[in-house]
């Protein structure tokens, strides 16, 4: 668990971060969202003491981080950054082995752990002997992730991890990222300015502006209960697409007809509307079998799906 208590930081006359407090629960992914210069990266870097706060307190797993040696603290926190920052003079294997070597792991242990991660991150084995410049951007970012995960730290900090990638590569890595079992066990703080990405990956989003927190909450809360105009406007341009991603079939369950019971592969009800639509459009089936948590099953068509969604929308409280 990470807790920030009234953290402030000034650079010269600029108040980069202004009395910020939040908690990140164990195994939760918190995304710091905002425009550039809003203080989100500064906030992130204070968590592993790359930047020291002027005032306030940061507690990780019950311990105040200012009482710890910064180098030791950082060895226990994974860090992924936009520019990846792989060492150009190290091979991929050596890059991944940096922290294990600092921790004096045995060679065999480093090797087997590296192999394991390479497999999980879908990197071909022959990259291990290559140098960073010989890899594509997407591969480099996977190596960056492997480097951060290799010692299995409980906390992972990510600074715009997919920012340097093209759209196609980005969405495929995001998907892998979401599916990666290792990451589900971690407490993650991630910085992004990409609203779609934030909604895709966050358990909770912390929307920031001018060094202050505007709103902190689940994607659904941000979308349906924005606290002010700024929060509303920030999401306005992509509202519909975000809603499709935030609302799942469970939410609109009551607006769906009973449907005819049918045998075949059933999808879980936590499928969001966007995913359900994609399945219906891209495959040759007209209907989708969904089974809810209570073992109840329904079949939906595209029309039924949109109708159910619209009814859900109008049932939501409006400001």
């Amino acid at each position: 668990m990470i807790e920030l208590k009234e953290i402030s930081k000034k650079f010269g006359h600029t108040q980069a971060v202004n009395t910020i407090s939040f908690k990140v629960e164990e195994k939760e992914t918190l995304v710091l969202l905002g425009t550039s210069g809003c203080g989100k990266t500064t906030t992130l870097k204070m968590i592993n003491r790359l930047i020291e706060p002027d005032t306030g307190q940061i507690i990780i797993n019950g311990a105040d981080i200012t009482n710890q040696n910064p180098d030791e603290l950082r060895k226990g926190i994974g860090y992924v950054m936009q520019n990846i920052g792989l060492f150009p003079h190290y091979t991929i294997a050596e890059n991944i082995a940096v922290v294990p070597k600092l921790l004096r792991w045995e060679k065999e242990k480093i090797k087997s752990r590296t192999q394991e991660l390479i497999g999980k991150l879908h990197l071909p084995e022959n990259v291990l002997k290559m140098f960073p410049h010989q890899l594509s951007g997407g591969q480099q970012q996977r190596v960056g992730l492997a480097r951060a995960l290799v010692t299995n730290p409980a906390v992972l900090l990510m600074d715009e991890p997919f920012g340097a990638l093209d759209n196609v590569t980005r969405s495929s890595i995001q998907k892998e990222f979401k599916a990666l079992e290792e990451l589900k066990r971690k407490t993650i703080v991630m910085v992004t300015h990409d609203v779609q990405e934030a909604f895709e990956l966050a358990d909770r989003i912390c929307l920031m502006d001018k060094g202050k927190i505007i709103q902190i909450g689940t994607p659904k809360q941000l979308l349906y209960q924005p606290v002010n105009d700024f929060a509303k406007k920030f999401l306005a341009s992509q509202k519909l697409a975000l809603e499709f991603k935030v609302v799942n079939i469970q939410d609109i369950w009551s607006f769906l007809p009973k449907g005819t019971l049918q045998d075949g592969k059933a999808f879980p009800a936590n499928l969001n509307i966007w995913e359900a639509m994609e399945l219906l459009r891209n495959t040759d089936r007209h209907e989708l079998l969904i089974s809810a948590d209570n073992k109840e099953s329904k079949t939906v068509t595209f029309e039924q799906l949109t109708q159910g969604f619209n009814q859900f929308q109008t049932s939501q409280p409006h400001e």
């Binding site: 950054m81 792989l86 600092l102």
Partner: protein, 523 residues
């Protein structure tokens, strides 16, 4: 051309042990100083990359040191460090410092910030970041600095021979003094080859990829250390007294060679420039030096001339030598120059030299005072009837003579004068004369005979100890060979002489060169 190459080859073969010795010394000097420069420059570069505020000051100081002329720097070192290897290494170190500091600094600050941030974020300590990230990534740039420093050092190390630190400069400057092209080339070609080879080797290391580089970096310091060690090899030699001889003296029959063959003198000898030799003797760095009998520093530093009791030093009477064409072009020239004939005695010349060298009066003032004292001075006529070009070699006496001739020509004729003083040695001066760059300069009969004419040993031996014979011989030969005329001698005899500190000479009871030999044989 073919013949020239062969004789150069023969010279190098004949002197191969000396050549090897000098080359090893040269490599040794280069690398000892390089090693020290790296030991100082690298940490300094790292320091100013950490504390950028210091960078301006440190780079500024290193830059200023770099601009001090090398000879001047060597001169400054003598009072503090004496002569020999120490000041030479320090001087070379100073020249090597700037490129190493600057490249270490730019190499480190040029590293991508994100890479440094990643290193910190992974929990590397400052020293781990330095050793594992910053230095390896900056290494190609640092190596480029070391490469520059190496090439600079190979060049500047030739000057080390001026202060008795050895190296290929001994051949180069000896050759210039002795008018011996083969000797110059025997020093210059290996020096140039050294620079080219070292540069190429370092560029190979610089272009290696990171993996090979990492291995090379373990070997590199060892190689530098071994090469630096070369310098220590040749110096196993000892006698109770130490002699410092100029490169010219070392190579001459009427110099070191004669001392060995005629007197059988065996003394630990180092090669040193004329400019610092007297001071080094005064400072007890040297005991015996090969000076000139009219040198002002003889008086200034209280040195005593050892009597040449077996007459190996031929007479060196000074006289102006003039191109015949110039005598035709300027009819009044000869009689004007001859005004000074037989006017300056040995003692008078020593005194004049003392005034410039030690009292630091300008040669112009010394010349004028002297001409006034013997009643020859006349105010300049400011004539414009053609310009006479006067040359001089690069030591005090020649400047004074050039000034006197300039005043006489301006005062007694309608000609104008331009002076080209400070031509670096006999060969350069004489080449300037034969190539119509100057019209005349003061030369010495002994030099004319032994350096410029170089007759076979028999003729030389027969001539060399007789003032008249020598003068007549050089006059006739110069007329025949070069169309150059020797005018009347000025009077003084500036011959080679061995000298010691007066007190030491008295203490050891050494008054002649034979005394010196006997003393050395006993001790």
């Amino acid at each position: 051309m073919n013949e020239q190459q062969q004789t150069l080859w023969q010279f190098m073969q004949g002197q191969s042990d000396k050549l090897l010795n000098q080359t090893l010394q040269h490599v040794g000097l280069t690398f000892i100083s390089l090693l020290l420069a790296i030991a100082i420059g690298l940490p300094l570069g790292i320091l100013i990359a950490r504390k950028r505020k210091l960078s301006g000051t440190v780079l500024g100081i290193a830059g200023v040191l770099q601009t001090i002329p090398s000879i001047a720097l060597l001169g400054f070192m003598i009072p503090v460090l004496g002569i020999g290897a120490k000041p030479a290494i320090v001087a070379l170190l100073i020249y090597a410092l700037l490129p190493i500091i600057r490249n270490t600094y730019t190499g480190i600050i040029g590293i991508d910030q994100h890479i440094k941030e990643a290193a910190r974020a992974m929990g590397m300590s400052r020293s781990q970041i330095l050793l594992k990230v910053e230095l390896p990534l900056a290494m190609p740039v640092i190596l480029a600095g070391i490469r520059t420093a190496t090439v600079i050092n190979v060049g500047v190390a030739t000057l080390a021979s001026f202060i008795a630190a050895g190296g290929l400069g001994e051949f180069i400057f000896g050759g210039i003094s002795l008018n011996n092209t083969n000797m110059i080339l025997a020093g210059a070609i290996p020096a140039a080859l050294l620079a080219i080879i070292l540069d190429a080797l370092l560029s190979l290391i610089q272009k290696m990829d990171f993996k090979k580089l990492r291995r090379a970096l373990y070997v590199f310091p060892v190689v530098i250390l071994i090469l630096g060690g070369f310098y220590a090899l040749p110096s196993a030699y000892g006698s109770t007294l130490t002699a410092g001889f100029t490169p010219e003296f070392m190579g001459r029959q009427d110099g070191d060679l004669g001392l060995r063959s005629v007197y059988g003198l065996k003394i630990h000898t180092i090669v040193i420039s004329d400019a610092v030799m007297y001071k080094a003797a005064y400072a007890k760095e040297l005991d015996v030096i090969s000076g000139y009998s009219t040198d002002g520093r003889l008086k200034a530093f209280d040195l005593k001339i050892l009597k040449d009791d077996k007459n190996i030093f031929p007479p060196y009477y000074a006289a102006p030598i003039v191109r015949n064409e110039a005598l035709k072009q300027f009819p009044q020239l000869e009689e004007t120059l001859n005004l000074l004939a037989d006017k300056i005695t040995d003692a008078a010349m020593t005194d004049l030299n003392y005034k410039t060298d030690y009292l630091h009066q300008s040669p112009e003032r010394v010349a004028k005072d002297f001409l006034i004292s013997i009643g020859l001075y006349k105010a300049p006529k400011n004539g414009h009837n053609g310009t006479i070009r006067i040359g001089s070699k690069i030591f005090g006496e020649q400047y004074i003579l050039a000034e006197m001739y300039s005043m006489l020509i301006k005062g007694y004729t309608d000609y104008d004068v331009s002076t080209k003083t400070g031509l670096g040695g006999t060969k350069i001066c004489f080449d300037a004369l034969t190539n119509n760059q100057i019209d005349f300069y003061p030369e010495y009969t002994g030099t004319g005979l032994l350096v410029l004419l170089q007759p076979d040993a028999k003729v030389a031996k027969e001539m060399a100890h007789d003032k008249e014979k020598t003068y007549n011989y050089v006059s006739a030969e110069f007329e025949k060979k070069f169309k150059i005329k020797w005018l009347k001698p000025i009077g003084f005899n500036n011959s080679y002489a061995l000298m010691m500190r007066r007190k030491q000479s008295k203490d050891l009871n050494v008054n002649t060169i034979t005394d010196l030999k006997n003393y050395l044989d006993k001790n």
